[in-house]
Amino acid sequence: MKQGATLLYSHGFNIVEEGMQIRKDITVIMVAPKCPGSEVRAEYVRGFGVPTLIAVHPENDPEGKGLAQAKAYCVGTGGHRAGVLKSSFVAEVKSDLMGEQTILCGLLQTGSILSFDKMIEKGIDAGYASKLVQYGVEVITEALKHGGVSGMMDRLSNVAKVKAFEISEELKDIMRPLFQKHQDDIMSGEFSRTMMEDWAAGDKNLLAWRAATGETAFEKTPAGDVKIGEQEYFDNYTLMVAFVRAGVELAFETMVQAGIKPESAYYESLHETPLIANTIARKKLFEMNRVISDTAEYGCYLFDYACKPLLADFMTKVDTDLVGKNFNEGKDGSVDNRTLIAINEALRSHEVEIVGARLRKAMTAMKSIKTA
């Protein structure tokens, strides 16, 4: 590179986790859009942009021009219209890793497989079960994208909402230690160390886990030729709504406790969940794991293998009213006013909702998914 040139990263991994050293005359900046590349381009050509984190590597800013250049680049891609956060290489990589291995990929994988297996165990038609799981996360998280956790929970009937709230509280308690362990390992560098060991061993674990994902019953059962209405995905898949609420809130809480800015934690948890859900809708979990980075995929498997045993007891209590059949069936629909008010209050006053409402306001023109 030329003397005094600028090197731009779209993530912090190489600098932070690999410890890449860059020549001292070179300015090193980061402009990290919080969306897949195709989405960045699509938003740009319609005159908008995607939320973006920018940073300057403090060891490589010899002329003090880094921040101005990062801002300018971000304006060039339209990121300033959707929201720009001044971050750092370290914060970007630690929050990015945490989000992708817990809520974004890990929990969606665990929740999908457990849900499918439960329906098969209880005698729900396999084609229906496969379709409900494959497309359910996309439809459910579409509500999350537009209205946050409370917007998603509001799609349920009152009785279902009360139930989803209760079991998601339980899920949060069960999974909290696992989320914290992941955050600790990411912060200490332990995660990257073991993953890079696996790289050096020719991706031994990664490839074995990837192959195993391709062999699950869910993966091998094609989606049935049945019509599932948009609301039906909520009514018949209340369990996934509870998983998503628990995962989003836990990931956000854990990141904020670890010192990550709430805005950044929002982008890495709630904001990106629908984008990953789209890949599951396309071709299930194998596709999701193929599309995401190897780093995300490795973390996803680590989480998934630790999470399933943790949830074993919980899953024995789950029946088809939560997954596979309409939760409202055979219920009279009445709820206690005070319970409902308390639940709504708890959902709406969570910090991810307060931060999210403000950030979503900046993304005035969010597109709806165009599925035909």
């Binding site: 699509a42 319609r46 005159g47 908008f48 396309r282 023109a365 597109k367 165009k370």
Partner: protein, 489 residues
């Protein structure tokens, strides 16, 4: 007397909660081929979809297929809109993606698409070749769906229907985007399948129709009204007496350069396939051009260069508004000076924006509105909404309106900033005759103020009067450039 083929009794239908069809009755007998014409928004498309059983089936629509016929016993509807999917079954494409070389492999080829259609309906793949040839489509078999222009997508839809030969074929605006020769060939093919037993219902406002059309109707106040061929003529059209909003009569601010476009030996290719070859073209400020060429001759690629949408602009000797492309400008600095309407812009436009937001977004060249436009832009928008007669739809979402009304809103968006260069690529698709006439008169008005115009339209009758120069493309090359009338200035 034999049973009627279609028997509709007291059909009531709502479009987005508004009644459009009220106690509609219609009987179609054997050997009848109907034309359904009339104003945009009268309910033609809703009726057609109901007959084809799309979305909902109605007990008061009775269709009696001929059990003796060898043709498929179905009512097949060819929509006025096209929707294609990528290999993963998604239809999430974005504007400009088509010009991106790497993206072309994400959709199926025409050949694969036809094979899967043929398999679904058990059709012989050999029979499709003749239809492809007749519509000039054979060479495109290897192309992927995303590479097709809007006219070519329309042809693909028609090829499927003509290959299928259902007992009842309903075609909604089939001529949209087709060049003159293709329209002729389509009419011949329609006559042929009608001969062989397919009954036609054609929704169209075009003058040239297949000879087999023997009944004509319009929808008035929710009811079907049969009319004669004479009544179809254009005599009910009166020029609008609404004055053109004053802000559109202001002279456009001209660039420092008197030269709008200069292309020197411009070439565009994808691998082996050359789409534009050695194009030389100059457009000076204030000139009014029409761009002609068959479907697939390279018109939309040429226009995409001018609109800053084609990445290969940077690899060519190409000047826009006096500056060489690739000399530091952003695409937004180019779009700022252009008012564009095209079938693609419509296709990729944000359907969840309201009519008002869509029109204001013309000031910013965005798809959807992202900021508060302030007083004067809002006032201009309101004035234009009134001029286009869209007052009652101001806060309606685009995807809740029929195609013709959507198009009117996008036309208002195109001119709202009174741009120095207007690019109108088949602007009147989906409009009725009266709307087309009004719009062309408006274009003539605008062009008095120094606006530069590039107009694409396949039908002479739809072209505004102010056109003075013509460029003809054929297979990606400039076939001719001619002056139609001397500018009076």
């Amino acid at each position: 007397m034999s049973q009627p083929v279609v028997h509709i009794t007291n059909l009531n239908l709502k479009y987005r909660h508004k009644p459009v069809l009220m106690d509609l009755n219609w009987t179609i007998n054997r050997n009848e081929n109907w034309l359904l014409c009339g104003t945009s928004g009268s309910g033609k498309t809703s009726l057609a979809k109901a007959m084809a059983g799309i979305g909902h089936s109605y007990s008061n629509i009775e269709i009696n297929f001929n059990p003796q016929s060898s043709l498929p016993a179905m009512a097949y509807y060819v929509a006025n809109w096209f929707q294609f999917k990528d290999l993963e079954g998604q239809s999430n494409f974005y504007y400009q993606q088509r010009y991106n070389k790497q993206s072309t492999e994400t959709t199926a080829t025409v050949k694969a698409e036809l094979e899967s259609f043929g398999k679904k309906h058990s059709l012989s793949i050999h029979e499709v070749d003749r239809v492809l040839a007749a519509l000039g489509f054979s060479e495109l078999k290897g192309s992927t769906l995303i590479q097709l222009s809007s006219g070519e997508h329309k042809k693909l839809q028609l090829v499927k229907a003509l290959w299928l030969k259902p007992q009842l074929l309903i075609l909604d605006l089939p001529y949209n985007g087709l060049d003159v020769l293709s329209r002729k060939n389509l009419n011949a093919l329609l006559e042929e399948i009608s001969e062989a037993g397919t009954q036609l219902i054609l929704i169209s406002n075009e003058a040239e129709l297949p000879g087999c059309i023997n009944r004509i109707a319009t929808i008035e106040e929710g009811k079907l009204v049969e009319i004669s061929a004479e009544e179809r003529t254009w005599n009910d059209i009166e020029a609008s007496d609404k004055p053109v909003p004053t802000f559109l009569s202001e002279s456009v601010v001209n660039a420092s350069s008197a030269e709008i476009i200069r292309m020197i030996n411009v070439n565009i290719s994808y691998g082996e396939k050359q789409v534009l070859k050695n194009i030389n073209w100059e457009v000076k400020a204030g000139e009014k051009w029409v761009l002609h060429g068959h479907n697939g001759s390279g018109k939309s690629t040429l226009l995409s260069l001018i609109c800053g949408d084609h990445p290969q602009a940077y690899a060519n000797d190409f000047h826009l508004f006096g500056n060489k492309r690739g000399s530091g400008e952003s695409i937004w600095e180019i779009k700022e000076r252009i008012g564009l309407i095209s079938p693609e812009l419509h296709w990729y436009f944000d359907p969840s924006a309201t009519v008002w937001q869509s029109i204001v977004s013309g000031f910013y060249d965005s798809s959807g509105l992202f900021c508060d436009p302030g007083y004067s832009k809002k006032a201009k928008t309101d004035e234009l909404i009134h001029y286009f007669g869209l007052d009652e739809y101001k806060n309606t979402l685009m995807n809740e309106l029929p195609l013709g009304k959507q198009r009117l809103a996008l036309l208002a968006r195109t001119i709202v900033k009174n741009p120095e260069l207007l690019i109108l690529d088949e602007p009147c698709q989906g409009l009725d005759q009266q709307q087309t006439l009004h719009f062309n008169k408006l274009v003539d008005e605008l062009c008095k103020n120094g606006t530069t115009l590039i107009y694409v339209g396949h039908f002479e009758s739809q072209i505004p009067g102010c056109i003075e120069k013509r460029i003809l493309l054929e297979n990606g090359e400039v076939k001719s450039v001619e002056t139609l009338l001397e500018s009076v200035l």
